[in-house]
């Protein structure tokens, strides 16, 4: 293998698994260290810059960072990154003085369709640069699906108000209760750019016999949640069936439990394990006495004179064909009818753009989705950009934020007369953490604590009040314990070939047997000859140049604890622990030139 090019920004970025997995590339270890130091406001601002909604995401994020967390490969469970984010939001001081000031307007006008996370991120990035941003939303308040679809017992309004307020306070014009129903009309208003962040607002139908007749007791999940959120709905039947296995289904069933549903059952077509809902959301539902039945396909709504009496299901089993694809085939068991008073249908969401006319210059593909460039988020109309669920279908908040940042950068570049396809490199800083012979400016003593549980409100109390937040969040002590579990993966092991005398001290001390000195070879061959087996080929090997004996140093990045013992036991300083901070380029940040600044 060739010596690893650690100057390439991606190399060390990949080692910080959580940050690499985060769509917005939030510098996770950096803010967790600040939490451990009690610097909650600083931790909050790092998050605010990167993911815009720390308090909201700290409660609701789909947390792609956690399955990626190195800790999950070292012991059973990853660091509770998401809930630590909430800690920063919960314990911060008043941070309003740290926010950008509303800037003098630069004369450019940007229209944002939809007041959800994607649009608000665009506004957050553009308003401080002087753009006049106008956000349109059919609902009276900003937040989009964060406000309408996520139940209040998971995300209180106060948090939404606070964090959307920070953005609107930057001089953003919010036009609530103003539905955009014609793109043509909007284009005619001569905005310099238009951003569509209108989400995936339509719940998928379940068109099976009895649907029309029993319509009065069959509700589309996201619409029903929105009605609950706005107070239009405040009760439901005693026996409720929720169809679907995603996070919306979990929100539906838990909401139903709080509105009078005594016997609430979630029923999914596929297996329990394959459900789209996050594991922790399934756990929370089960904890609230909601059984989840699987491998049952709804075939008919049973009704008597327009009154729903139950749902009939066919039992299925999973079979795999030669290509490994799964098919659900009837298991042969007789169909089963489960009695109920109400059904909530949460079997998916769809995009809908009836308001975009054919002749707007915006092309759609065969799935009726706009053709959007995945890097610039531009549509085929150069002035119109898409982001969030509106761009590529339903994902989650953190993706919408990432899209928003990229779209804002495109809009800024376009309106500055630059080529939007040229994306600036991220800004990278790397600096030694050595403070003394055995002292580092980070806590390298590895905690062996297991993941700390987030305290929950007592179930009986929680089920009585739909607005009572279930999760209470970590207190300071629990947060400190959990923060110590972070392995500081951004403090990188940096190796200097010329300084190494091949004394083996690093090999001997490494608790994870990450380091091997051996003859060079192809990657597949080297992976066979490591001191400990290579378990994850997607994790890089860090290879040095040729050493004096002709061998090379090979480090498997996979389970490195970043404890720094290799550097402590190195007599020549060939190993050093260097903090690597990568910040994605947002609109208006000084764009670094192509010359790289790493190492």
């Amino acid at each position: 293998m060739k010596p690893t090019d650690i100057a390439a920004p991606d190399y060390f970025h990949k080692v910080v698994d959580c940050q690499w997995a985060c769509p917005a590339h939030t510098p996770v270890p950096e803010y967790i260290r600040l939490i451990a130091q009690g610097r909650y406001s600083d931790a909050y601002m790092i998050n605010w810059k990167s993911n815009v909604f720390p308090g909201i995401l700290g409660r609701t994020c789909d947390r792609p960072c956690e399955p990626a967390c190195r800790r999950g490969r070292v012991e059973e469970t990853p660091v509770a990154i998401c809930r630590l984010k909430r800690v920063a939001a919960d314990f911060k001081d008043d941070i309003r003085q740290r926010l950008p000031r509303p800037a003098p307007k630069n004369g450019k006008r940007v229209a944002l369709v939809g007041g959800g996370p994607a649009s608000l991120t665009v506004a957050r990035d553009l308003a401080p640069l002087g753009y006049h941003c106008t956000v349109f939303d059919a609902d009276p308040e900003a937040g989009g699906m964060m406000r309408t679809q996520i139940p209040k017992f998971r995300l209180p309004n106060s948090v939404i108000d606070e964090e959307t307020g920070y953005i609107l306070g930057l001089g953003v014009d919010f036009k609530g209760g103003h539905r955009i129903d014609s793109m043509k009309a909007l284009l005619a208003e001569k905005y310099d750019a238009i951003f569509v962040g209108s989400g995936a607002p339509r719940g998928r139908e379940l068109d099976i016999p009895g649907r029309k007749e029993a319509a009065g007791n069959i509700h589309i999940g996201i619409e029903w949640l929105a009605n609950v959120s706005f107070g239009h709905v405040d009760k439901i039947g005693k026996r409720v069936i929720v169809l679907g296995g995603g996070n919306t289904a979990m929100d539906c069933c838990r909401t139903a439990r709080r509105l009078g549903g005594e016997k609430v059952t979630v029923i999914v077509r596929s297996g329990f394990e394959e459900m789209k809902a996050s594991p922790w959301e399934k756990e929370d539902a089960i904890h609230e006495d909601i059984p989840i039945l699987n491998y049952m396909v709804p075939v008919a709504f049973k009704q008597v004179a327009g009154k729903l009496i139950g749902v009939t299901f066919q039992h299925v089993k999973a079979e795999y064909d030669a290509k490994g694809r799964r098919n659900l085939v009837p298991s042969g068991d007789p169909d089963q009818t489960i009695p109920c008073d109400d059904v909530l249908v949460a079997v998916g969401q769809e995009n809908a753009f009836p308001w975009i006319e054919q002749d707007c210059g915006i092309e759609f593909d065969k799935w009726h989705m706009p053709k959007v460039d995945p890097k610039t988020f531009a549509s085929t109309n150069p002035k119109v950009f898409f982001g969030g669920d509106a761009a590529f279908g339903p994902k989650n908040i953190i993706w919408a934020v990432a899209h928003g940042h990229d779209a804002a950068l495109s809009i800024h570049k376009m309106l500055s007369g630059e080529d939007i396809s040229e994306r600036p490199l991220p800004e990278v800083q790397i600096s030694s953490q050595k403070m003394g012979i055995h002292e580092w400016s980070y806590d390298n003593d590895i905690s062996v604590d297991k993941r700390y549980k987030v305290p929950h409100r007592d179930k009986i109390v929680a089920l009585k009040d739909i607005r009572a937040e279930v999760e209470l969040g970590y207190d300071v002590k629990l947060a400190l314990g959990e923060a110590h579990r972070c392995l500081n993966c951004d403090v990188q092991t940096v190796f200097s070939t010329s300084l190494c005398i091949e004394c083996d001290a690093c090999v001997d001390i490494c608790p994870m047997d990450c380091i091997t000195f051996t003859a060079n070879g192809e990657e597949s061959d080297l992976r066979q000859r490591l001191k400990a087996p290579s378990l994850h080929p997607d994790q890089d090997l860090y290879v040095s140049g040729d050493l004096k004996t002709g061998r090379v140093m090979v480090k498997d990045e996979d389970v490195c604890l970043h404890c720094g013992l290799c550097a402590e036991r190195c007599p020549t300083g060939a190993w050093d622990m260097q903090k690597y901070l990568i910040e994605m380029t947002h609109a208006g940040s000084t764009c670094p030139t192509k010359s790289r600044s790493a190492a």
Binding site: C503, D504, A505, L565, R569
Partner: protein, 351 residues
Amino acid sequence: MTYIAKPKFHHPGLKKNELGYTHRDYEGKISTLCAGCGHDSITASIIEACYELSIEPHRVAKISGIGCSSKTPDYFLGNSHGFNSVHGRMPSVLTGANLANRDLIYLGVSGDGDSASIGFGQFAHSIRRGVNMTYIVENNGVYGLTKGQFSATADRGSKSKKGVTNTDNPIDLVAIALQLGATFVARSFSGDKSQLVPLIAAAIGHKGASFIDVISPCIAFNNHAGSTKSFDYVREHNDAVNRLDVLVGRDPIAVDYAPGTVQVVEQHDGSRIALRKIDADYDPHDRLGAMTFLQKHAAKGQIVTGLLYVDPDAEDMHEHLNTVEAPLNSLEADSLCPGSAVLDKFNASLR
């Protein structure tokens, strides 16, 4: 030294030995020696050898004297018996312990100061008595704890860190061990674990006095250009006569060696050593030949490493002395004090 303890986590794919232990289970406390010390590599090699042999830690007694090397038993086999004796007295303490309980595996760990200077006599007598032990000298040629004076194994003409030339003749502990009748004699280098680990494993399996001289560079005081015990010098002048694999159990010997290049040595404990010859003329069963070979190569400035001599049929001290087989602490009152009838019989035999 390092302030933090070595993290308890280990690689999730770490292999386990027959006892279900990983090599991490054979570690001791974190080393307090200077960063990069060759002794730490020897520590790691002892850990590896004990792991590979699936030795139960409680069956090992590690005994040492004074010096950097003699601190190392704290860094391996944290669940074994240990005795840190006074300077140079490790061989006597070990001999005594062995006399009292021959069931344990005895690891004597010493340095060039401990064994070639203050404890030279102790070293000599434990070897000539054939104590069943593995005697490891971590040999760096300097007194590291007192800041780098030449030790008795420093080569004549080699230079100290400050540039002073050594005018005294060196003691070659391997030559002395051969001359005193050690039945397993080897030399190795801390920077070559692939040679050192099987040597330690083979020495543990040998019944009799096993002696291994391990050249172990002192990073702080003896790893400079004029040194003959630096990483660079040893790598350049290392003349390995053989490499070996230790085979435990009934596994067939790998057949991918060229015919005639592998010599199998059966050991008392049932293990076998497969010796891959590098120097075709070298015979590790010829004590006299080994001594001559060693002298010749030393004169040329070469450092001969490998398994230099082994007598697979060696006897140990207990056989010479006809001592009781059971450990003394297991002897009950009736065997310790068999009664007046036995005493009378014994006295009669002396009349």
